[in-house]
């Protein structure tokens, strides 16, 4: 899932000085699960803003709503209609950065402000803790590393084993909190009976499928073409 952290309240408050009818828009998927931007957080932020506005003597209406996904037109179009219908003049979205973009691309002259800081693709490793696990490099190599990603989980993205700072299982960059992923890979390869593979050189990576090849698109030909031909897509 995509993990995000709430933005500091004062920063969000600072975005909104010039607006009178504000929609706080939560998202029902990843950011709900990581407790950063779901319905509950949207409510909390909206009431916080109301209190802050009234304390400052600022007249503004704060509305709140949460949709299933802000990265899909199916769920976003009704929001756009509502914005128009109700004369909303600013949106604070608690979706990940995708939601901010998705809305901005479609909403016309209404500003969309980010309510969270989108951080990484990660998993919920214990209650209240999410850890980074994939960096979306576009050419997964975890079949070579026991299913554990050295790109996302090694601070130096090393592909050929642990650096000289790996000590007692921890990463030198954050020895208190972060395990050395190469220690994890080593142990896992041992468990899988594949330790000998770690002698092989993993060659320099082609970063084109990662962000370095330019902006990425993902096409499912059978659906994409169908829509295009029928004139519904593109």
């Amino acid at each position: 899932m995509i993990v995000a952290d709430p933005k500091p309240f004062q920063q969000i408050r600072g975005f909104l000085e010039d607006y009178r009818k504000i929609l706080v828009l939560g998202c029902g998927t990843c950011v709900t699960v990581c407790l950063a931007g779901g319905e509950a957080q949207a409510e909390l932020l909206a009431s916080g803003l109301r209190i802050s506005f009234s304390k400052d003597g600022k007249e503004a209406t704060v509305l709140e709503d949460t949709v299933q996904r802000q990265c899909d037109e199916e769920f976003v179009l009704p929001v756009l209609e509502r914005v128009k219908r109700e004369g909303i003049d600013a949106v604070v979205t608690l979706a990940c950065g995708v939601g901010v973009n998705f809305l901005s691309d479609r909403i016309g002259a209404i500003p969309v402000f980010p309510g969270v800081n989108t951080t990484f693709y990660g998993g919920n490793v214990e209650p209240g803790l999410w850890s980074e696990m994939c960096a979306g490099c576009g050419d997964c190599i975890t079949h070579l590393t026991g299913g554990i990603c050295p790109i996302a989980r090694c601070s130096k993205h090393l592909l050929n084993g642990p650096c000289g700072g790996s000590e007692k299982g921890m990463c030198e960059v954050d020895p208190q909190n972060t395990e050395c992923v190469w220690q994890l890979i080593y142990e896992r390869m041992k468990l899988l009976g594949r330790l000998h593979e770690m002698q092989n050189l993993i060659p320099t990576k082609d970063w084109r499928p990662a962000m370095d090849g330019g902006v990425r698109r993902s096409v499912r030909e059978h659906i994409f073409r169908l829509q295009y031909k029928s004139g519904a897509g593109a």
């Binding site: 000590e167 030198e172 960059v173 050189l201 060659p203």
Partner: protein, 314 residues
């Protein structure tokens, strides 16, 4: 190595190895600016006492004069440089371009490193590169030298006869993998190895035994890394704060057992005893003495270790 393949670069360091001498290198950190005079002073201190000196590449991610620039100044002033190159700050385009530039400036040894994370330096907010790791860098520069091709496969104009080195840390974890990692570096292209500074002799000897069992001592020139301890404070600090370095209690006790003003001398004595012991270790082909901010002690250490004068090799 010497037996099965010939001279790679003709650098002084390589010649010293191939002539069968124990080589001596030290470290020469460039200034945090363009202070050439400061660098020249350091060069004068070590001149004649080492076969080559490592020129660090923004070590611990603190901004300094470039290792290429400083290496060229070393070469002009009579000390052969081992230019360090880290992949933290340059992608493969810059790394290959810098290799050509360095070679054109007369630099003949290069040590390939991944580099310290910028978190440890004075620009922790910088974006890093890490397009490749040190092993991939070695493989890339070896391919340039031996096959005349850059990473993309395009041909190189003119040869690049360089002597390539790598670092090895026998003291990091997982221990059983450390020798395999060194083997990967040697297979990728390392002609010589400089180890992390050795304090735990037991572990180091175990590492060397594993290396010999794999025949690595015959495939690359392995240099033992040593850092003389200035004080018990420094020993404790390194033990606590530097990942991948452990200083045995016995050494800390020994330093603590002498008065403060004699601790530096005691640190040097420990270093000299280590050199004596390691001269007997099969597969050790030289010493890399990293006297951190203590370059002025290099001549004394080299002399007292019986490694002076340095051989003149043709």
């Amino acid at each position: 190595m010497s037996q099965d393949n010939g001279m790679k670069s003709g650098s002084n360091l390589e010649k010293v190895f191939r002539a069968g001498h124990l080589a001596v290198t030290c470290e020469c950190g460039p200034p945090k600016g363009a202070d050439v005079e400061h660098l020249k002073k350091k060069i004068q201190m070590i001149k004649g006492y080492v076969d080559a000196a490592n020129v660090t590449d923004n070590q611990t991610a603190v901004v300094r004069m470039s290792s290429i620039g400083a290496s060229a100044i070393l070469a002009q002033n009579g000390v052969e440089p081992v230019m360090q190159m880290v992949t933290r700050d340059r992608n493969r385009i810059a790394a290959q371009s810098d290799l050509f530039g360095a070679y054109a400036l007369g630099i003949r040894n290069m040590l390939c490193l991944t580099g310290d994370h910028q978190k440890f330096g004075n620009h922790p907010f910088a974006k890093n590169v890490f397009d490749m790791d040190s092993i991939q860098l070695l493989n890339m520069v070896r391919t340039i030298r031996d096959e005349g091709k850059v990473n993309s496969g395009d041909p190189v104009e003119g040869g690049v006869s360089m002597f390539f080195g790598a670092a090895a840390n026998p003291f990091a974890d997982p221990f059983e993998f450390r020798v395999i990692r060194m083997a990967k570096k040697i297979h990728a292209g390392a002609d010589f190895i400089q180890t992390q500074c050795i304090y735990d002799m037991v572990r180091f000897k175990e590492f060397m035994k594993m290396a010999r069992d794999m025949g690595l001592h015959e495939k690359a020139f392995i240099m033992a890394g040593l850092t003389p301890l200035k004080s018990v404070g420094m020993a404790r600090y390194m033990n606590r704060n530097v990942s991948g370095i452990t200083i045995p209690e016995a050494i800390i006790k020994r330093l603590a057992g002498v008065p403060k003003e004699r601790q530096a001398e005691e640190g040097i004595r420990i270093c000299l005893e280590q050199i004596e012991e390691l001269k007997e270790e099969r597969g050790i082909r030289g010493f890399h003495i990293m006297a951190i901010e203590w370059e002025e002690k290099i001549p004394e250490i080299v002399e007292r270790a019986g490694l002076y004068p340095r051989p003149a090799v043709a």
